[in-house]
């Protein structure tokens, strides 16, 4: 378990609204029993026809840690394979205009913070990165800011998720298991526990 206060690395702008998890990782790559190797298949069907011109293939964005997306990113299927593929490609933080909820929850659960900015901020950040792909981008969870060269923008993040990263408690499994005695007690309120 590790705290995440800020992430610094180069950026990768991926433009488009409503990018769904089928596009992030097509269903055929879900035929697996581990998440190993998913990174190379991220956006497989979007990348193939572009012959190396997709942002995830462009040399300028190689090694990027900060993914910058637009509206309703990660909608659709609950497949954790989607954030796993993005993270295994090398992304450590995502900034977008908005995220679908299950995708957001999956990112938190695997330790990838997702922060939101308004349309103008996100578009300006994408342009700043595209203009200078080697510039370091810093996403600061404490200050809720993003800095890329001269560009500085304000971000927001759900407070619970933010605290989870700042305190290093984003993996809630241990807390949930520690609460088992309280769980047992709480089931007394639920009549269906004793039916058949």
């Amino acid at each position: 378990m590790s705290q995440v206060n800020a992430v610094t690395g180069t950026g990768l702008p991926l433009r488009g609204d409503d990018i769904d998890t089928d596009r992030i990782i097509p269903a055929r790559f879900l035929r697996c029993v581990t998440f190993d190797g998913l990174g190379e298949h991220v956006f497989a069907d979007d990348r193939a026809p572009l012959g190396g011109e997709h942002p995830f293939d462009q040399a300028a964005y190689g090694g990027a840690k900060v993914l910058v997306v637009n509206r309703n990113f990660g909608c659709g299927s609950s497949r954790e394979h989607a954030p796993q593929a993005i993270a295994r490609w090398g992304i450590e933080v995502i900034v977008g205009e908005s995220f679908a909820e299950i995708f957001f929850a999956n990112c938190i659960a695997i330790g990838v913070p997702c922060l939101t900015g308004d349309h103008e901020t996100v578009v300006a950040l994408q342009e700043a990165i595209a203009a200078n792909p080697t510039a370091a981008v810093t996403v600061d969870l404490e200050q809720l800011t993003v800095q890329c060269g001269d560009f500085r923008g304000q971000l927001t993040m759900k407070e619970g998720a933010r605290q989870a990263f700042l305190t290093g408690q984003w993996d809630s499994c241990g807390q949930l298991v520690a609460g088992l005695p309280a769980v047992q007690a709480a089931t007394a309120r639920l009549p269906y526990m004793s039916w058949a």
Binding site: D17, C32, T34, S78, A100, Q163, S172, C173, Q175, A186
Partner: protein, 469 residues
């Protein structure tokens, strides 16, 4: 903030504690597991030395990867075989009930749990699948979750989750002939948008939902996720109780009477407070078809595909992407669009009443030359019941293939896939780029009766012309 809704009551009953993050530790009364999103969760349990404290609260089946033609083991696809083997082994090791192929109870997880009476009002339901929202039809609150959360539920029977707001989505009036539950939910998504529901649970209310069967309510709740909502539900009523009575896992005897009283007490109060309310008129809903690459890009069958000028500024970029991908021109009619493949099935529309409505359209007619049409029952039980009333013969005589139960071409993880840029008329739930197994395949979402009509005509057709004929 919402107050006095079923959502509030069920949430409060299942809330165990507040976690340091501010999220709620929420008890899960029914956890459903399938082969795609669980193997890594079981592996994480082993890595961390965790056990499953409530194994009787989890039920598993196999649905996404199963072939719908030849189901002999080992499967021809060795990866699919490996996945089912893992599920078999995991269920055995952790003591989890597993409905395997040939058990008579296998099927799409969101079809079999209601069918067995596992899904009940007042429960929190979770499953590593976004269409878990289906179970809300019973007055349950049902969340789709990812694999790490599947691990959490296995290890603790709880979820770490923040409470959403509650929006009442009211639809009143009678649906017109040829208009089905699928059209209602496609209409709602079109009007509220694919991210309109983000941050909300949807309560479906009003006379239209009150008049719906449980299977119709499941169709609507199923696609809550396509509208961006975290879940969707209908308050339990006499229709709910009638459906549940006598099913294998429904309470029996004295428990049944106690259950009804408890379930009734959970329904939203007449003076419940909602975070938002929207109201639709059933008379405004027509047979609806999607033309684009998000489920919100839907139109009435007799409407033209919108032009950029018809759309809100924020919806134009994705519309342009949709014209390009679907090879449609703005302003073009959707009626008459040639179809290559017609798929009837899925957790949205693979239940007996769905197949019955499609069969009414197919009966005595023939699938158009060059069209591949197939029907995939949602479960082994649906298949059995459909065969008992002769639906398989009606479909076969009309030229539809009659398959074994599974998710099939909804997401094409099994051998059922589109080829190239084929156009599919599909009773499933997602028209995303590449969704049905070909990176350039094109999907038009519609009701099962409309899919049957498209199969007969070989093109997108207003089903009302066939049912009135």
């Amino acid at each position: 903030m919402s107050k006095g809704t079923l959502f509030d009551k069920v949430w409060d009953l299942h809330a165990v504690s507040t976690l340091p993050s501010g999220q709620t530790q929420l008890f899960v009364g029914l956890h459903l597991v399938h082969e795609v999103t669980s193997p890594q969760a079981f592996a994480m349990l082993r890595e961390r030395g965790l056990t499953v404290p409530f194994p009787q609260r989890t039920v598993a089946t196999v649905d996404h990867i199963v072939p719908t033609e030849d189901q002999a083991r080992p499967f021809a696809d060795s990866l699919a075989e490996e996945m089912i083997c893992h599920l078999e082994r995991n269920c055995k090791e952790f003591g989890i009930r597993f409905y395997n192929l040939g058990s008579g109870k296998q099927g799409i997880v969101h079809v079999i749990a209601p069918e067995q009476g596992l899904t009940q009002p007042g429960m929190v339901v979770a499953c590593g699948d976004s269409h878990t929202s289906t179970h809300g039809a019973f007055g349950a609150i049902a969340f789709g979750i990812g694999t790490s959360q599947v691990r959490d539920v296995l290890a603790s029977q709880t979820l770490a989750i923040a409470k959403p707001k509650v929006r009442r989505v009211e639809v009143n009036g009678n649906l017109r002939p040829g208009v089905y539950a699928k059209d209602v939910v496609l209409h709602i998504i079109r009007k509220l948008g694919v991210k309109g529901g983000v941050g909300y649970a949807y309560e479906y209310a009003g006379t239209t939902f009150a008049a719906m069967s449980m299977e119709e309510r499941m169709t609507v709740c199923n696609m809550s996720i396509e509208g961006g909502a975290r879940c969707g539900y209908v308050n339990p009523d006499a229709t709910t109780f009638e459906y549940l009575k006598g099913r294998e896992f429904a309470p029996q005897g004295a428990d049944w009477d106690a259950a009804i009283a408890w379930w009734q007490s959970l329904a939203s109060d007449a003076d419940a407070a909602y975070d938002d309310v929207v109201v639709f008129d059933a008379a405004d809903i027509a047979p609806t078809v999607t033309w684009g690459i998000t489920p919100g890009q839907g139109i009435a069958i007799d409407e033209p595909i919108p032009t950029l000028a018809d759309l809100e500024a924020g919806d134009r970029a994705i519309a342009q992407e949709a014209y390009d991908y679907m090879q449609f021109a703005p302003g073009q009619a959707i009626v008459g669009t040639k179809v290559d493949v017609c798929f009837i099935g899925s957790c949205t529309n693979g239940r007996l009443s769905d197949l019955t409505e499609a069969a009414k359209v197919a009966q005595g007619r023939r699938v158009a030359e060059g069209v591949k049409a197939f029907v995939v029952p949602g479960s082994e039980a649906v298949k059995r019941e459909a065969e008992a009333i002769g639906l398989d013969r009606i479909f076969a005589e009309a030229g539809f293939e009659w398959r074994e139960a599974g998710c099939s071409m909804c997401l094409a993880m099994n051998p059922d896939k589109l080829q190239g840029n084929q156009v599919s008329a599909s009773s499933s739930n997602r028209n995303f780029k590449g969704r049905q197994g070909s990176p350039s395949g094109r999907t038009l979402l519609m009701s099962p009766a409309m899919v049957a009509a498209a199969a007969i005509a070989g093109q997108v057709t207003d089903v009302r012309e066939l049912i009135n004929a």
